[in-house]
Structures are given as C-alpha cells and as structure tokens.
Symmetry: D2
Subunit: 348 residues, 4 copies
C-alpha cells in the first residue's frame, strides 16, 4: 500500500500516517519527492486496509499495490488448475466444449439439443431451469421440473450437466441434480449466492458480471473459494460498453490476463456476448486461438420457437463447422479436445 | 414493434412475417422504402414478443417501440406518486433527506450518526446491517444484532429506518425491524430478491444497478410492482464509466428522464456515486436543483475509524451546510423540506 | 513515481531499477513489503518518465503519483482564474450564460437567436460557422460567410462571439472574427489544433472529449497553455456511456473535481449532453447549483427547421424560465449573474 | 425511417407528420397499435433526414432504419474489396502482417525494426514520424526527417511504408513519402483530415476511434470515400471501457460485424489495444482466427529505450513465434500469408 500525501501536507500529517500504521503493527517508509511525499506501507494488508488512511489529514490518495484475492491467485497456486466435472476435465491441456439450450423447455427439445451438442464435440451439457430475465413477464424457467428433465437427458445423451442457480435457498436442490452449478452474470456480485455455492460440494462456473472488472470477478471467485471450494471455472461472456452492434462486447483479452493472475480455468461464451448467431463461430475460433480452456455455446433444434435467446442459438449446420473448428484449432494451441464420456459412463 | 426486413429479403420473407404475426393474433402493416421494407406490428406485445421474429428468414432487425414496463409507467398512473415511509412522505412536493452511517457498527456510533442526521434535516435514518462487500475478508455487517440497534435508535432519535436486505430468505426478518427495505446496486437484477421484497408489505428503495440502463432499472421496479407492491422509491447512485476520478459517474440526467417515464419518486445518493466527502455537498445541491425527490447521504461521527466507506461520510461541519442547502434550495424547486417526525411519534 | 516490483523479482532486478533512476539524475527509495517490494522514485518526472521502467526485468507496474499537467494546475496557480472574453468575465464569482444557435444558418436566424439569448440573461453569443458532423452528407456550416454573420450580429445584439474552429489552418481566420475560439468535443485530442489556438491570441473554450478522462482533458488544456495562452475555459458536455436515454451522460461531478485540480473556469453544456430540450432546464439548474462558472445553451427561433441539433434547442418560453433560474440560483452559490455588455460597448 | 408518435398524440399530430413528409417528396404509412401509432417514412432519406421530425408536436421518437453510410457499405459493393499498398494486397484471401516501431527515432532503430518485421512475416512497415501524444512534454516525432528515414529504410528493407498524418496541411508532404496514410484513433472524427486524405491519392488506414461505435467508424470511412478514395483499410485497435487491466478493450467482434456491413478490409492492432507485450501474441492469434484481413504490431530492437509505447513492443523471440502463428493459422481460415515484396521491387 502506498500513501500519497497531498501537496500541502506538512510534517505532522506525515508523522500521523506513520504513527497510525506502526500502531496497527505495520511499517512505513517515507520517500520525499520534489512535489509530493509518499509513504510506503508494509505489513498485514487486510488489517492495515481497515485503517481508512484516506480520511487522515494531509492524505491525497492511497494506492493498493498487492492484489486483494489470495486463494484464486497464481501466487497461492503456481500451476494452473484442472477442474473435473463428473470426470470431464477443464484445464490447461484440453479444450472443453459445453453446449445446450439456453433454457430447458421440454424433454424433447432438451434431448434434441443434447444430441446436437454431443455431435458437435461437446462433453458437457448446459441448460437453464431457472432463468433470470429482465422482464417479469418473460418465461422464467421450469424450475425443478426442468432439473428433472436435465437429469433424464444426462443419462440418455451421456453428458454431465451444467445449470444455473439464482437463489441461495435453491442451491441444495440444484446441486442434487446438477454436475456443475452456474452463477450467471447478473449474480456475480450476489454474495450470499456465492457463499452458498461455495459450500455445495459441486464445481462452479462463475460468469463475469457484465459490469465487473477482472479484479472484481476474481474477488467473486475468492468468495466461493473462501468457503472451501476451489473447483471454479471462470467464464468470460462480454462486458457492457457503448457499442450496440453486439449485445455485449466480448473482452477477449480477459482470457490471457486472467490466466496470468489466477490458476483457475477460463472459458468463453460466444453466444451471450455477441447475441447473434452469425458471430458465434468467428468468436469461438477467436476464443480457442487466444487460449481459452473451453467454450460454452447455445444450441436449439428450432431457434425460431425458442423461449429464450433464440437469435443466438446455433443450428445443425453450424455445429458441424464448430466441431471441425474445435478439432483443427486445438492442436495449434497445444490442447486436445476433451472427449464426451462414453455413453454408459454417466449415471449421476 | 417494427420488423425491418434485410435488404435482400424477398416477398416470401415479408409474407412469412405477416402470416406469423396474424396467426398469433396481431396485425401487420407493410411499408416499402427505397432500400428496405418495414413491417409495423401491432397487437399484444407480450404475446407477439415471444415470436422470435428475429430468427425468421429475411428479417434484418426488430425494433421494440413501446416500453416494456407497465405498472411503474406514467401511462399506468399519470400523477407522480407519494410514498409514505412510516408517515414520512417521499414525492413530488417535498424534499426528503435520508442520512445515517453506511454500516451499523455499534449502538453508540449509530445513535450519534442518527442525531447528526436529524440535526442536518434528515427525516429518515439509513444504516446497513447486511453489507454486500466486494471482498470476503471485509466487514460484512452485524446482521440481526445490527437490525436491533437500528430499531433502538429509531426510538431514541425519532427517525424511521431504511436498511438493506441482500438475501431473499432474510426479507421477512429485515422487514420485521425496518420501515423501508433497500435493494442495493449489486442486487438490482437479483430477481428472487426483488420478488421477495415485492411481497414483504414494506416500502422499497431500489438503487440503480451501476451498469443498468434506465429501462432495466424500471423493469427491476416492475418486478417488485408485479408482486403487488407499488411503494417503490428509485435511487440514482452513479453508473460505471471509464472515468476514474470518481467512484462512479452520477447520472444526474436520470432524475428528469425517470420522472417523465415513471410515476415513482426518484432520489439521489451523492455519497456512493462520488465516493469522496468533498463532492457530497456540491452533488447534493445539484440533485436538489435538478428536481430529485430526496437525497440519501452517509454520515459518521468518526469517519477515519469507519468500517465501511469512511472516505465519503459527512461530518458535523458539513451537515450544518447540508441543512442550510436543503432549506434554501427546496423552495426554488417548488418543494418543502420534509420534517422529521416528532420524537414521540415513532414506535414501530 | 512508484515502481512496484513483480512478486518474483530478485535483488538484481531491484538494483537495476535503482541504478537506472540514479543514472538519470533521480533518486530511488526501496520499501520491502511482505509480498512485494516497491521503489519510490523522485526527481524530474518528465525526464524520468522517458525511462520506460515498465520494460525493465522484474518490474510489475509503474504508478505515476504527481499530475502530468502543470500550467493549468492549482499547484501552478492557487487562485481560481477569471477569463475575460471581450470584457465579459468567466470565473469564480460570476455565473456567465452563453447562448445562441447550434449552427449559423442565416443572418435573420442568427440575429433572432441572439436577441433570444440576450433576453434570457446571456452575455455571450455562441454559434457555429464550421460544424463537425458525423455524416459527410449533413450540413457542414457556412464557413467564412457564417463568421461574417456572427460579426454583424455581435454589433446588433451587443454580445461577444464564441465560435468553433476545426482545422488548424482556419485558426487565424476564425480568430479575426471571433472573441473566443471553441475547440469541440471531437477535437479535444487534435493536438495540432490545440497548438494553433494556443498561439492565436484569443481566449479558448475547450470542450471535454466525449471519451476523455478528466486528466486527459486537463492535458489538452496544457497543450494550449504551453503555447503561452492560459485564457482557457473548460466545458463539460457529457461523456459516452452505455446509457442511451440521453445523447451523452452529463458528468456533473466533473465540475467540482476539476475546480480542485485546476485554476481554470469550468462551464456546463446542458444542451449537447442531454440532446433533449426537456432536459436543458433541469440540467442548467443542476449545473449552476453544483458550482459551475457558467452554462452554454442552444437556442433557435424555429427548432423544427434547424439544420443542426434542433431537438435540443430552447425556445422563447423556456428562455424566460432559464433567465429566472439563473437569477435566483446564482446568489445561493455566492455568484452574481454576469450582465450582458451595454449595447454600444461591443465593436470588435 | 420510422416515426413513433407519443402516447398522447392526436390525429392532428399524425396528419402533421404525414403532410410534412409528403411535402418533402417522401411517402408515409400510418400503423395504429394498441398503445402507439407509428408512421413509416420512405423516400430520399438524406433529404427527409433534415426535416427534424423529432421537434414536431406529438412525436415521441424517430428511428432510423437504413444505414447512413453508402459508398463503404456492402449494399454499394457486394464483393469484399482488396486494397493494394504499393503492390501488397490487403483483402479477403490473404493475411497481411504490418510491423515496425511505434515511432521513428533514428535510422538505425528504424532499419533494425524493419528487418525484424520482415523476418517475422511482415510485408508492410509501420512507423510514426508525427506522433499524437497526450502530453505536450512527450516526444512528438521527428517530422519530415522521420519520413526521410522511412523512405530510406523502405529501400533497404524492401517493405512499403504506412505512416500517420495528424494535420490536414501535412497530408501532401506525408503522401509524397508514404505508401499508405494512417489516420489514428484520436483523429477518426477529425473531418478536415479525413477529407484531406480522401483527396491525397494514397490508400488510407483508418483506425477506429477509441470511443467510436462501428457505425461512426464507417461514417468516418464514408468521409474519405466521398472524396473519391475507396482504398481504405479499417483497423480495430480497442475501445475505451471501464476495464483497466488493459489499455483499451479489443473489440474482437467488430471484425465479423464490420465485414458484414462493409466491403472494406479490416485489420487488428493487438499492440495498442492491450498495451502489454505479453498480450500481443494471444491477441494476434485471436485476430487471425476471428477472420481479420491482417494485423499490425509494434516491434522495437530495444523496447526499454523506446521513446514511445515501449511496454508493448515485440522483441526478437516473440517475432519468431508470431511468424509461426501467422503461417499456421492462415490456412485454417482460408487465407495465405501475404509475402513481402522481393527486395529489388520497392523503389517508390
């Protein structure tokens, strides 16, 4: 932590900062510049961070130097992690494709989507039974009936299931059906939910908040980790900017940036970031090439009848191309495409 | 709703759109331009909105025309609403000042803050017992013990209490202590929480999500309203932009924009938007002058020791100036300053 | 300047930084923290700033501490400046209203607008003869013929003239007609233009770039100042954000923030930030109340026929209200409304 | 164009709009919805666009339907264009690598950079003699002496030259040395400069403004095209967002979006968007994979001594990897790597 004194700060002000830091068990080093004096503060940053130095007389600014997250940082764990979702790995040596319908609507639609996903190279099935929708008048998901459909389709299609949970009180129920819990973009800073999934004993996919900095995203992961669960996969899904040609702006740079800061895997959602079917394939190629540990895409057998986000769902023809892309690009970035489990292998 | 056909769309494509709309009970009017054809769609927009017209062949774009919120709109209720919080009004003829500590830390600090607030012209007390913090290692609030302190201070200081709730399962408990429930910026799109406060029988203060458009904010209010609760006060508290000189960018224009779109009162939080004590008074003046129905500010008897957001808390000297500002500016915008309840009047 | 060493930096890396700084005539102080080492660098920051310390081995980050602008800073000049535009002051004790048409279209329209402006309390006339338009097919301004109209109207209406210049090679011509040169939002980082107006011998109104941070804005002012011209008035006119209900988001907080950092006056443009006539009056009130040194508004005798930005122009009825607002609010913020020059007083 | 009438609009208001449109030579179709009436407007949109319909009584909103750019659109030219820069193609079948120093500092540094660029697979040399810098105290470029160095190095290294111009009055001089003129991000909306390069008879590289929407970027290209020059290459270089981990946020989705809207080639600058050397290779892979027509990267023989943007310059080891990436990824996206001209072939 560095305290930058205001230009008009006097020696008393500097002494005040140094004394306060030392009284709290830290140490402080004073460097006098031509126009400003700075005080380097060392010691237990969590404790010193509560000192509210910014409110001291003569203090101009306080600049934090070390990252505020710990368990999810590469300083905590040097090697990049491999997360296993019912035996399917997500990590630095593989490319894992997750696919499925945005929302579970019927057993038939979900099964058809799962078979499409499997044919396209997916090894995990996504699908939402609880949908956070900006309008209270929009389809909100099937709830537990949707979870039951996902569980049935898991057996039929042989793909472990990733599904979203939106209410802390639903976490145990959803965890009893799902292989991986998803925290969506609107809930990235829903701290009770993060704590609940941190204690649920299942891997978690944490989508980036559409307004979250990378540091805030890693802090959200730290909330989960702090409850003892380090089986976290981060998912970049676009941030909100002034550009309106796409639903959100995919922050492709976030993938290598996060991989330097954290040992957790990072995947990309090209469907929700672009919000347009014609962008899903180019953005999938970009995501694989930039070094993502996986991608997650929407598929639907009949997008024009989808109850949620139909405009971005891939259809059959796209999926063959996606399968080819994933197979050909993976080796160029030193990865193997994660195979789907053998059909008999999945029984919750 | 207007469907804009792609430049290359043929007559079959146009007919397809018209037929689909009519089959769903709507009507469609075709206008042929020099380079594009547009189809005006009229009828029940909720039903027609599920048609996924964007996925039809030949469709370039679909532009929604009418607002997606209903109950909170001025078309639903022409007159601007007055919300009563335990008898204290927030509405178009008054200026209501809400003040108090960011977080409830101790009974002494809360009482001292409440007395400061009252002296500064506040008629409602704010204070958080549940704090959503970006770090899991930061002070998270006192929970129910904090609610009890707020209830005690309400009697001593004579100010009804506004306090935040962050978990749907806590809503009933918080509502049993509080006079008004606050939904914070990080939870504006926490739909289960919105639905829970919609059913709790207490007025709600809904802060704008730091990344939310005005339309999304009004849709969040619609979630609460749809559960039968129209006692909602909107609170502008700054949005996230590229500018880093302030914590967030106060969107002062949102006040008149919202007042034209919705009948709900709108107040401004100059403390959390700026994040700096020296900005609170100028931004309070701006908020009152632009026509806000109230302001909500942080105060603290000892900001340098605050466990949360000390850098932005007002202290005694500021509060006298705030009181003068509120008293002098209110009449210029056709309002009277809402008086605090008589001391005997508040007993939950 | 503070150099933050990477976690894995060794003693050699630290020594390398210290040696490089000392070789360049600066000094360096090493503070060892528990997880990081920081090196405080003091000396001539411009010279040390060229060292490219970020590229040295073991360096994690370089944090600049002192502001990069000098001449426009309050450290350079403690007292807030008063800028005189042909005798009309803009500064800390007055509220100066600038009004006029967005674009000069005809002599009649310009004169009518100027008389509207004067009646509304304006003491300076705005009007564009060179218009930067996003479409090459839109009206681009009358050029020198427009400047001549402005000069004629100045005499008739008794208001000194503020007008925009967009090309460095036009600066001398525009300066020969105008009393104040305006640099528009799209040209805030047009450095040859800034340098040219810096040498033109006329006061300059520098609009904030719609994507510029406050620091970048002050650096643009520094470009003008460095050419010997400190007669600069800054104009906040809204920044680009995700919100689309308004054309831009008026950053009202920028006014007090800039006034702490710089001695230059700051005014607000409520017309271009909101882009909507119904927002001009509320935003004008907010601007005056927050402490702006002036406002600049669009007026037009026939907005529905305006060739540029008609939707935001005030008409007669609004102007009476604006005059009343300016007169009543000024004393509350310790200012007097700047009077228009006596009619005989203006002859270039 | 679609005019959306306000909810309270009467028949007179609707008739007024229809009459005005018809008087201007257009036609208008009225569609009455349950809550709103819309008027579809067809005809010459440029002429109708000046009508200022938004200011008419009863008008709620005006929504433009067709794109405002023409010459650069795919509707104007169906096939994607190939631009030739002194014989080096940039277009849909090739991947063209442009590399060189951010700024020309000395003849030695420029030659060394050019040889590095050529070895890495580049077929064009970049390098700035005029540098737009946010500080007036920073290195501003060598001017014409720098252009002469570039011309000399072109012969020695056999690479045609791309260089920036910042002032309209310098365009002819720069064009007399350069093979391609670059308009930088800060000048994307410098309309006199766009018009000047439009008339200079050389191909133009137009960088996206860091705050520009895709539509505004294409309108800037239209300014150049309208002067008769369609030899334009667009360059995505990152947009300004709230995220600060990277200098700007590379909008990778802009590449496929622009390729659908315009026939012009689009390349990507991974150096300036990220601002960090460690991101250049991953972002280059992403750019090639998403389908960019080329990339432009900074190289420097001694980044720690660079006078401009040293932290992002690639060095020798990176360049071998870049060459391998470009060679291996190009065929996967159906392209061939553009070869550098034979050494004898370049003599201006």
């Amino acid at each position: 932590m560095v305290v930058v004194m205001a230009a008009e700060a006097g020696q008393d002000d500097i002494d005040g900062v140094v004394d306060l830091v030392r009284a709290a068990g830290g140490d402080a080093f004073v460097s006098r510049g031509m126009s400003r004096t700075i005080v380097g503060v060392v010691g237990d940053v969590e404790r010193l961070g509560t000192l509210n130095l910014r409110a001291m007389p003569g203090v101009g600014d306080v600049v934090r130097i070390s990252a505020p997250y710990k368990l999810v940082s590469r300083e905590h764990r040097r090697e990049r992690s491999v997360i296993s979702v019912a035996g399917v790995p997500i990590g630095p040596d593989t490319l894992t494709v997750i696919a499925g319908p945005c929302a579970v609507e019927t057993a038939e639609q979900t099964l058809a989507s799962a078979l499409m996903a499997r044919a396209a190279g997916a090894s995990l099935l996504r699908g939402g039974a609880y949908k956070p929708r900006s309008s209270p008048y929009a389809f909100q998901g099937l709830g537990e009936a949707g979870l039951q459909i996902l569980a049935d389709v898991r057996e039929a299609a042989g793909l472990p299931v990733v599904t979203e949970v939106v209410d802390p009180s639903d976490v145990d129920l959803v965890a009893s059906y799902a292989d991986m819990l998803q925290v969506g973009t609107r809930n990235m800073a829903n701290f009770p939910l993060l704590q609940a999934v941190g204690g649920a004993g299942k891997p978690v996919m944490l989508k980036r908040g559409m307004n979250a900095t990378i540091e805030e995203w890693l802090m959200a992961a730290e909330y989960i980790a702090q409850r003892g669960n380090l089986d976290i996969v981060l998912c970049e899904r676009g941030i909100r900017t002034f550009e309106k040609a796409t639903r959100n702006t995919l922050d492709i740079s976030a993938v290598p940036v996060v991989q330097r800061l954290s040992h957790l895997p990072v995947i990309v959602d090209p469907s929700h970031s672009g919000g347009r079917r014609d962008l899903v394939l180019p953005l999938s190629r970009a995501a694989i090439a930039v070094g993502a540990d996986g991608i997650i895409v929407d598929v639907h057998p009949h997008p024009e009848a989808a109850l949620c986000d139909g405009p971005q769902a891939l259809v059959d023809a796209d999926l063959r191309e996606l399968a080819a892309v994933a197979a050909h690009l993976s080796p160029l970035v030193g990865r193997t495409l994660t195979p789907a489990p053998a059909l008999a292998a999945v029984d919750a």
